[in-house]
């Protein structure tokens, strides 16, 4: 059951990305280009998503189990460390280079865009590199 709802959540998320225009890297870069002709759309996407999300997380945070009876798995980490800062900076640079973050890249992949396939392959390689480095560290 949770697998079906997981797929449904991914599907609705993807539909939201298409409706919002955020599946288009050119539109994302239009937001990131403050010094050019600035397109504020992404800010409104965030505002809409956070408005609904805030309500949901308010209720979710007061529960031990989800509606399906699964244990709530909300992050508990609190420290703001070098990993968080450096990782987010690297992600932001990569986001600015191509205009793709993970969700929109997967949606564009579903459209059969070869360039999205290339990006997703490189992204998976980067995630794989992280796993290798983590394993070596431990």
């Amino acid at each position: 059951m949770n697998i079906i709802f997981s797929g449904l959540a991914g599907l609705i998320f993807g539909l939201g990305l298409i409706v919002s225009g955020m599946a288009d890297p050119a539109k994302v870069l239009g937001f990131l280009d403050l010094a050019g002709a600035w397109d504020p759309s992404l800010a409104l996407v965030m505002a809409g998503a956070i408005a609904v999300g805030s309500l949901a997380f308010y209720f979710a945070g007061r529960r031990q189990h989800s509606w399906l009876g699964l244990v709530m798995k909300l992050p508990s980490a609190r420290q703001i460390d070098r990993r968080l800062l450096l990782g987010s900076a690297l992600f932001g640079i990569g986001w600015g280079v191509a205009g793709f973050c993970p969700g929109p890249a997967l949606v564009a992949l579903g459209l059969g865009e070869l360039k999205a396939l290339l990006f997703v392959a490189a992204m998976l390689a980067g995630m794989g590199l992280f796993e290798v480095l983590e394993r070596r560290r431990s």
Binding site: F5, S6, A9, G10, I12, G14, L15, G16, L17, I18, V19, S20, G21, A26, L29, G30, D39, P40, L44, V45, M46, G48, I50, A51, G53, S54, L55, A56, F57, H65, S66, W67, L68, V71, L74, A77, L85, L86, S88, A89, L90, F91, G92, G94, W95, V97, G99, C101, P102, G103, L106, A108, L109, K115, L118, A122, M123, G126, M127, F130
Partner: protein
């Protein structure tokens, strides 16, 4: 700063944002998890028993979204200007960076800010600033 009024799509952006929020809301209320796409995808590379199917289902839902959208309307064609070397470098940076930073635009940006998580507020500030700076350098200093 000049606002690109012709490119600005406030209605679609807000509606799309509400739909994204709905997806994150359903996911946490039903499955008890954060809809963080980099974490869901990255977890597939470290398979653990009972932890793979839901991740794969979420990712397939995202990839299948254009297909479902296409049943009702024409899917807008994305404009991907980056060339091959840029796409490879960007992909590697996004892959490594989101895993070290424990999240991306969905996990930190949407879910984390909704939870008022201090880590996510900082992470979102950092990746937004890095994104602004990168586009400034590429478009206005180097001049691609």
């Amino acid at each position: 700063m000049t606002i690109a009024w012709t490119a600005f799509t406030p209605g679609a952006a807000l509606l799309g944002g509400l739909i994204i929020g709905l997806a994150a809301a359903l996911f946490v209320l039903l499955n008890g998890r954060i809809a963080g796409i980099s974490g869901i995808l990255g977890g597939l590379l470290k398979p653990q028993a009972g932890d793979t199917a839901w991740r794969a289902a979420f990712v397939l839902g995202l990839i299948g979204a254009p297909l479902v959208y296409g049943l009702f309307a024409r899917v807008p064609v994305p404009q991907i200007d980056a060339g091959t070397p840029s796409l490879v470098i960007a992909g590697l940076l996004v892959g490594v960076g989101t895993r070290y930073g424990s999240g991306c635009t969905s996990g930190h940006g949407v879910c984390g800010i909704s939870r008022l998580s201090p880590r996510s507020l900082v992470a979102t500030g950092v990746f937004m600033a890095a994104g602004f700076a990168t586009v400034f350098v590429i478009r206005h200093l180097v001049g691609f």
